[in-house]
């Protein structure tokens, strides 16, 4: 007896899906739960597991075709099995003929014959993490899958982000932030349908993780950004004078080190910025672990952390940044390097951006955005001078801070940079 493969309903409001790719061809053997095809909807892409073990007898919906949830996509059965007459009708495009209860859909809230009641939160988690709920053992009432069951299952899954080999940037000329050239992504496995004027970039685990964390941040943290500008005349002079001296010690001095040091000075003056919002209260950290956002080009972005940054001199800071760069270059960053940051700096200026409103990395309180350093006319007393100017933007968690403290903090950074000692 052949088993139908049915287009699942991949979300409450998702009523149709597109076949992206068949992973098995007619005649090939497939095991139960083995991924059989990839489908795409406007909300999510997902692998559809085979509902039974056997041979793919017939594929009814070709790659690129969009059909309603509940449509029979293919038949699985014993080798050589003939398909009966009632198994012939393929596509059900008519919305009037509502498809039968989607037994193959693990994601629809409501009564489900195989899985018991699926609560809204379980349906959402399954959708967000692309889970096949049939793989999860239910411990709730009547064997229902509970939220805890799903979370336990997710905890046991390996976290994909850190060990995914990413195309690391090769930081050139002492700058961690310059995006790499376009990294050619894997060619789409299936050519897009001829009529579609779009293409689909598959989500990498890193892209998914970034999306998850940034959405969480934007959703839960009330973001506010404040912007100031700094005159870098003294910093530039210091940089020019000291770059060759540092080079003799084997250290590549960068402007990033100055911004990092100024941020540390301000964090020491205003520890409330070195803190996390928790339900119990505001957790203020004694140690400053400085995250530095590093672009990996198309692949995404990582934020390695300089630990105990409060103890570092300019030389030490430059060396720590060099170390991150070297290890990034050698793909030797460990998951630990990416954790435990208490404040982050992102240098969007390398792309030419004057100022930006970065998103906070939870559970941190704030993030400093450094714009492009550019010579600009500025009024100094009664004269107009040309000075290397930079916009600094601070995005902060308004639950922890009010504008006054944030501005005082940013002023402290500006003041540190503008009064940089000459020696």
């Amino acid at each position: 007896m052949a088993t139908p493969v049915i287009m699942p309903q991949l979300g409450e409001s998702v009523v149709e899906g597109t076949v992206l790719r068949w992973l098995k061809q007619p005649g090939e053997t497939v095991a139960e739960f083995e991924p059989l095809l990839e489908v795409s909807t406007d909300k999510v892409d997902s692998e559809v597991p085979s509902p039974a073990s056997g041979v793919v007898l017939q594929i009814l919906v070709p790659t690129g075709q969009t059909v309603r949830a509940g449509t029979v996509l293919a038949w699985i059965g014993a080798a050589g099995e003939a398909l009966g007459g009632e198994e012939a009708p393929a596509v059900s495009p008519a919305p009037a003929e509502a498809p039968a209860a989607p037994t193959a859909s693990p994601l629809t809230p409501g009564r489900n014959r195989d899985l018991g009641f699926i609560s809204p939160v379980v349906a959402r988690l399954a959708r967000e993490h692309n889970l096949d709920l049939r793989q999860i053992k239910g411990t709730g009432e009547g064997g229902r899958i509970t939220k805890k069951d799903v979370l336990r299952y997710l905890e046991r899954q390996p976290t994909p982000t850190p060990e995914t080999p990413a195309a690391w940037e090769t930081p050139g000329e002492g700058d961690l932030f310059r995006p790499t050239e376009d990294v050619p992504s894997a060619a789409p496995s299936a050519p897009p349908p001829a009529e579609a004027k779009e293409r689909l970039i598959p989500l990498t685990p890193m892209r998914q993780k970034i999306a998850e964390r940034l959405s969480y941040s934007a959703r839960t943290i009330p973001h506010v950004t404040t912007v100031m500008e700094a005159d870098l005349k003294r910093v530039v002079a210091h940089y020019t004078a000291h770059k060759p001296l540092f080079a003799r010690d084997g250290v590549n001095l960068t402007y990033t080190a100055y911004f990092a040091l100024a941020a540390v000075a301000a964090l020491r003056a205003y520890p409330l910025l070195n803190a996390s919002w928790t339900e119990e209260g505001i957790r203020v950290y004694e140690t400053i672990n400085l995250g530095i956002a590093v672009s990996l080009g198309d692949e995404g972005l990582v934020v390695p952390v300089i630990r105990q940054a409060e103890g570092l001199s300019l030389l030490g800071m430059a060396r720590a940044i060099n170390d991150l760069a070297a290890r990034a270059r050698g793909r030797r960053l460990t998951p630990d390097d990416l954790q435990g940051g208490t404040f982050t700096i992102t240098n969007h200026g390398v792309g030419g951006s004057l100022f930006a409103t970065p998103i906070i990395l939870p559970p941190q309180c704030a993030i400093l955005g450094v714009g492009k350093i550019t010579p600009r006319p500025v009024v100094i007393e009664d004269a107009i001078a040309i000075r290397p100017m930079v916009y600094l933007s601070l995005t902060f968690d308004h639950r922890i801070l009010d504008g006054a403290v944030a501005d005082a903090f940013l002023s402290k950074i500006v003041q540190t940079l503008q009064t940089w000692p000459e020696a």
């Binding site: 609560s119 809204p120 939160v121 379980v122 709730g140 009432e141 509970t146 939220k147 339900e279």
Partner: protein
């Protein structure tokens, strides 16, 4: 910090506010020479005199009506309704006049009035001395409804209520007047009207309660903690305006919610919380939102076994928590 009872904290709040601001005065039945039937105003008549602690006739509509008039005139009246059960003669004054004045006059007139009323059962008070009336009033825009669950909050919230430019109904869990004890600062402080408080963090079930029920909620959470059920207890403190953020944050974390009040179920305040959760946190829910409330009978019975049958308590809450945890 000295430890004191709920009623002592309430008395201290009024005492301090009267000393701080001479516009503050008290009006109500037996509040003067007798010091109130629950002794909430004990000693204030002697301290501030008959012009600021006024014994009223047994006429609640006039107690509140006088309060509204005085408030419009610039005073800061504290009206005491001896039992919340007796508030209904004043319903028209509260709903039609006090709550609407600011809106009706486009902000030109406001009614900085506090109405204190002991509410709730479990004290053998029978049908006319046990009622919970919060649902009637939390429905009314323009009126704030506050219910403290402990002496610290009671003092801080009552001081906020006195200083609030709007009418505030301050409902006091009378069973807790001498049962609820806690440390209370002697110096001036306020607890803002509005924010709820997570009084016990947990990740399995959100338990929402207020007043006396919050006391039992904490006990029940402790009982089931021994069985591995981690309950997050939220003391709502203010029913109007309600702290939606804290409620939703908690449910988004736990996925399950139980609401407890002693007022009867149908049309009770818990329905509003349940509706809020269903509307705003549907996709976080892992179980139906449940309510544990008094039964739909016309009053808290006088007979003690029947009163016990009526009142939610710690074992009843624990049983509801266990059922929800097993869902």
């Amino acid at each position: 910090m000295p430890e004191m009872t709920l009623v002592e904290a309430i008395r201290q709040a009024m005492d301090e506010e009267m000393a701080r601001d001479e516009r503050v005065f008290i009006v109500g039945e037996d509040v003067g020479k007798r010091g109130g039937v629950f002794r909430a105003t004990l000693g204030l008549y002697e301290k501030y005199g008959p012009e600021r602690v006024i014994d009223s006739p047994l006429a609640e509509a006039s107690i509140v009506g006088v309060g509204i008039g005085a408030a419009l005139y610039g005073m800061r009246p504290i009206c005491e309704i001896q039992f919340a059960d007796f508030i209904f003669p004043a319903f028209n004054q509260i709903v039609n006049e006090a709550a609407r004045m600011c809106y009706r006059s486009n902000g030109e007139w406001c009614v900085p009035l506090v109405i204190r009323a002991p509410y709730g059962g479990g004290i053998g008070g029978g049908l006319y001395h046990s009622q919970s009336v919060e649902a009637f009033f939390a429905h009314v825009p323009g009126l704030k409804v506050v219910i403290p669950s402990n002496p610290y909050d009671a003092k801080g919230l009552l001081k906020s209520a006195v200083r609030d430019p709007n009418p505030v109904l301050f409902l006091e869990p009378k069973k807790g007047y001498r049962l609820l004890r806690g440390e209370v600062p002697t110096e001036d402080y306020v607890v803002p009207i509005g924010p709820a408080r997570v009084t016990r963090p947990g990740r399995d079930i959100s338990l929402f309660a207020y007043g006396m029920m919050h006391y039992y909620a904490l006990q029940a959470a402790e009982m089931v903690a021994a069985e591995g059920i981690e309950v997050e207890v939220v003391d709502l403190r203010t029913l109007a305006p309600v702290d939606r953020t804290t409620i939703l944050e908690s449910v988004r974390k736990t996925g399950k919610a139980l609401i407890v009040h002693e007022d009867n179920l149908t049309g009770g305040y818990g329905a509003e919380i349940a509706a809020l959760i269903a509307e705003e946190a549907f996709e976080a829910l892992d179980a139906p939102v449940r309510r544990l409330c008094g039964p739909d009978v016309p009053g808290v019975p006088f007979s003690h076994p029947m009163q016990d049958w009526f009142m939610p308590n710690a074992p009843k809450i624990a049983a509801a928590l266990r059922a929800l945890a097993a869902y």
